[in-house]
């Protein structure tokens, strides 16, 4: 046996090191950010109001519902399934929230809790059917899509229920005080520095190669600037909108779940190869059901935000949202075959979709154009992704 064990350290010659590290960073995520900026610049040139603080604040608020749904959808798609019911589930749980708040006069905290429970249970029911009864998720959630919409009409008697409780309305409409925004930014940056530092120390402890200091600093500066600019722009209007904070918190939580916990790892393994996952001792059914539970839960969170923002629940609320969420995931690089995809990608995907919506509405484009443009961009984004991957593999 040729005693040539090519280990991590010694195969990577110095010249390669930078390339290697750059490759390790999520190149995709950066190109996506670039795409968003490009879209913004385009709309900014075509329309004066697009890049104002007020509109951007609006845009982020608009994005929040799709983004929250997309977070759950990433997990579902990664595990190799699909959830077509989230749009209707948003409608239904929104209706439930409105009924509890308005007809039953329950306090906001109880409304929130009740809504989340309903979302969780309906997610669990669908998950159980998919995981334990082996009905394809496409069918189960297609059924859910119709049934939940019907249930919504039934319980609301097909009326629009408006929200009168002012504290409930805060959820989707309030802004964080400006000082608070700055404090949050400071905390976030401090956390970035801390995590970079501990990461370097820990790699050092294990004797692994450490990314070059300047590269790390560069990344740090880039992200810090992003945070600061974001907070300043938001503050120059009314402060950071409440819903955005939900999105950010959920994104952090679910990225952690996906990347750093056994549950997340197992979900990726199941989507990558179910049989191998089963033979590695992973409890496929339970994990699959949990994915749908999370998707249902996130749908009910999205419903709370939406209902509160619109101050009412209507029978058409959330219609087609499942498709927006799926599109956001796919634009963000989630593979429909399962096994790969990131939360951050999906959120940027949601931002792309919402920016298009917002920009085209501002320009007063007729809605048929908006649909055509969105559809085209979806296909285009995936095509771009596939060709670039093929190039990389073929080299």
């Amino acid at each position: 046996m040729q005693a040539k064990i090519e280990t991590n350290e010694n195969t990577i010659s110095k010249g390669n090191a930078l390339k290697h590290l750059l490759g390790k960073m999520d190149v995709r995520a950066y190109t996506m950010v670039a795409a968003v900026i490009l879209i913004w610049l385009l709309f900014g040139m075509l329309n004066d109001t697009f890049l104002t603080a007020r509109n951007l604040s609006n845009l982020f608020t608009q994005m929040s519902v799709t983004a929250i749904l997309a977070i759950g959808m990433v997990l579902v798609i990664v595990s190799g399934h699909i959830d077509l019911s989230v749009g209707s589930l948003v409608g239904l749980t929104g209706g439930v929230a409105a009924i509890m708040s308005n007809w039953m006069g329950m306090p906001t905290s109880a409304v929130i809790l009740g809504t989340l429970i309903v979302g969780l249970l309906l997610g669990m029911l669908q998950g159980w059917l998919v995981a334990y009864q082996a009905i394809p998720a496409f069918i189960v959630t297609l059924g859910g899509m119709m049934a939940f919409r019907g249930a919504l009409m039934g319980i609301t008697k097909s009326t629009t229920i408006s929200i009168s409780d002012p504290s409930f309305a805060l959820l989707g409409n309030a802004y964080f005080a400006k000082g608070f925004g700055l404090i949050m930014a400071a905390i976030a940056i401090a956390f970035l520095i801390y995590s970079m530092w501990t990461n370097r120390k820990s790699r050092q402890k294990y004797g692994f190669e450490i990314p070059s200091f300047s590269l790390d600093i560069g990344k740090l500066v880039f992200f810090s600037l992003l945070i600061i600019v974001f907070v300043l722009v938001m503050n120059s209007y009314k402060g950071i909108p409440f819903p955005i904070i939900f999105v950010i918190l959920l994104a952090i939580l679910f990225t952690f779940l996906a990347k750093k916990t056994r549950f997340g790892r197992h979900v990726y393994a199941i989507g990558g190869n179910v049989d191998a996952a089963r033979l590695s001792g992973i409890n496929i059914r339970w994990k699959t059901m949990m994915v749908f539970v999370l998707s249902g839960l996130l749908a009910s969170i999205a419903a709370l935000v939406l209902t509160s923002r619109l101050s009412s629940a209507t029978i058409t609320a959330g219609q087609m949202y499942e498709l927006d969420a799926i599109a956001a995931c796919v634009i963000g690089g989630t593979s429909l075959i399962g096994g790969s995809g990131t939360i951050v990608g999906a959120i940027i995907g949601a931002l792309v979709m919402t920016s298009l919506d917002n920009g085209m509405s501002l320009m007063g484009l007729e809605s048929f154009w908006q649909y055509v443009a969105k559809g085209t961009i979806l296909v285009f984004a995936v095509w771009l992704d596939i060709t670039s991957r093929r190039k990389k593999a073929g080299k």
Partner: protein, 503 residues
């Protein structure tokens, strides 16, 4: 005059130079063996030849009958008379034998498939390869050996002048290998050139006229098989002398760790049929128990069932450390201290899209988890440990396992189960597709595990391996154990006799 000349072929992947100015020449009507360690570049060279890697993605030149060719897609290579049978079978399970043979080349008349014609021709090709099944059988119902023959029939139907077989016998039984060898000799006499990749030296010498040896992506030598011998080829492959193939050390078996009593397993699809019939088995700490038998004897089913992974119902008693256990799922099996290295690594062993370290930690993620959080550096540490221990050849730990060579993938599967630290390790064809040097290392590792008190069950179709490594050998036929032999008394003959029912 060469039927095929590959000149100065260089092929790079990110981080690896898989082929480095390789030259390879095959005469008309010869069987040419291509040998080399895992990851030497054999499959890559053949993928270049068959157009899977199109012209332009590599450097160098390909000549067929002295004429320069450029293959931009697989079709181009097929037109030039080149057909490849890949290391992993590529048939559509849901389709019939006939449909598979003519996939992409269906006989049509005015756009309509001529089914009768298709099945008629398919039957003819099946006869040529000596496979006695109806062309209308579904592929999924055939054994691996039969599927292999279907692949060959498919290749021949394309008017092939150069037939490439990438480890065709890795999954075949002895008798199937015989059929295949006869077939290849016949093809040679008809003027077809065959390129034959195998890690099994005896076969190489029985079959091949010439042998080309690759090492680390370079051509080391081309030999006439009459002038070469086993040891010479192996030492050229691995770059040094390799004296013993099976490192037998004395094991001292201790107390019984696994006992299986009156164990039966029903077939997963056919109710009433039993794949395992009333067997008894004891396994002691610190021993290697070999299980021999023909393909389809029920060995894999037994392993899967003990591991809680077979869908058919099991009856009987299983005792671990003297205590009765109920294993209904893989989780329970792992908890009870079992590990199973499955025979089909791509389908059952690995998540091909994930990287080496993630696959390694898959079955023992709790070892790298602290406070519910996966510790990436710990993960790298473990991944690196098994890459080093098993000498897996890879550019980095973050390489997706799908891009590794077959043998190196097998090592990743082994690493995964070693990390789970089992009491009882079941190995189903552990060295399939693994080169001689790496085999030796795996045997060595088995010895080390046994020394630490692990009990090993080794299922293998390679008799020399069973003979060389086991302390005891059980022979299985039709779902029962027909014979138990101490290693000292075991010979190829008495095992084969028991396995085929001669007793």
């Amino acid at each position: 005059m060469y039927a095929l000349e590959m000149i100065e072929i260089t092929k790079e992947f990110p981080g690896v130079k898989a082929l480095d100015r390789v030259s390879f020449k095959v005469k008309k009507g010869e069987i040419h063996a291509l040998c080399g360690e895992n990851g030497a570049g054999k499959s890559t060279l053949m993928k270049v030849l068959s157009g899977l890697y199109p012209a332009g993605t590599y450097q160098g030149e390909i000549q067929i009958d002295g004429e320069k060719k450029e293959f931009h897609q697989i079709m181009d290579a097929e037109k030039a008379g080149i057909a490849i049978i890949h290391q992993e079978l590529a048939l559509v399970k849901e389709m019939t034998v006939g449909e598979n043979i003519f996939l992409g080349a269906e006989p049509i008349k005015r756009g309509v498939i001529q089914w009768d014609e298709l099945y008629h021709q398919a039957a003819g090709w099946l006869k040529k390869v000596g496979l006695k099944v109806s062309p209308e059988t579904k592929i999924g119902t055939l054994g691996i050996g039969q599927q292999q023959l279907v692949e060959i029939a498919k290749a021949l139907s394309k008017n092939t002048k150069i037939l490439i077989l990438d480890e065709p016998t890795a999954a075949l039984t002895e008798s199937e290998v015989e059929i295949l060898m006869g077939l290849l000799h016949q093809l040679r006499n008809n003027g077809v050139s065959c390129i034959y990749i195998s890690h099994k030296m005896p076969e190489v010498f029985r079959l091949a006229d010439s042998i080309t040896i690759l090492r680390d992506g370079r051509t080391i030598a081309t030999l006439d098989s009459k002038e070469a011998d086993d040891d010479k080829v192996v030492s050229l492959m691995v770059g040094r002398e390799l004296t013993e193939r099976y490192p037998r050390v004395k094991h001292t078996p201790l107390e019984t760790v696994l006992e299986v009593r009156n164990y039966s397993v029903s077939h997963k699809d056919i109710p009433g049929k039993r794949v395992i019939k009333d067997i008894n088995l004891t396994l002691r700490k610190g021993e290697i128990l070999g299980i021999a038998g023909l393909m389809g004897a029920g060995r894999t089913e037994l392993a899967m069932s003990l591991f809680g992974a077979y869908e058919g119902k099991a009856e009987g008693e299983v005792l671990i450390d003297g205590k009765p256990v109920q294993i209904r799922s893989v989780q329970e099996a792992i908890q009870a201290g079992l590990a199973l290295v499955t025979e089909d690594r791509k389908r059952l062993g690995l998540v091909l899209g994930m990287d080496i370290k993630t696959n390694t930690t898959m079955a023992a993620l709790e070892k790298v988890t602290k406070w519910g959080t996966i510790h990436t550096n710990e993960e790298i540490k473990w991944g690196q440990k098994y890459v080093d221990d098993l000498r897996t050849k890879t550019p980095s730990l973050e390489t997706t396992v799908g891009t590794l060579s077959g043998g190196n993938q097998q090592k990743v599967v082994l690493g995964k189960w070693l990390m789970a630290d089992p009491k009882i390790l079941i190995l189903d064809e552990p060295t399939r597709g693994i080169d001689v040097g790496a085999k030796y290392e795996i045997y060595h590792l088995m010895n080390k595990l046994v020394e630490r008190g692990v009990a090993i069950i080794m299922i293998s179709s390679e008799l020399p391996e069973v003979l060389g490594m086991s302390d005891r050998i059980l022979v299985m036929r039709d779902g029962t154990f027909v014979k138990e032999i101490e290693w000292r008394e075991a010979t190829q003959e008495n095992i084969m006799l028991a396995a085929t029912g001669g007793i």
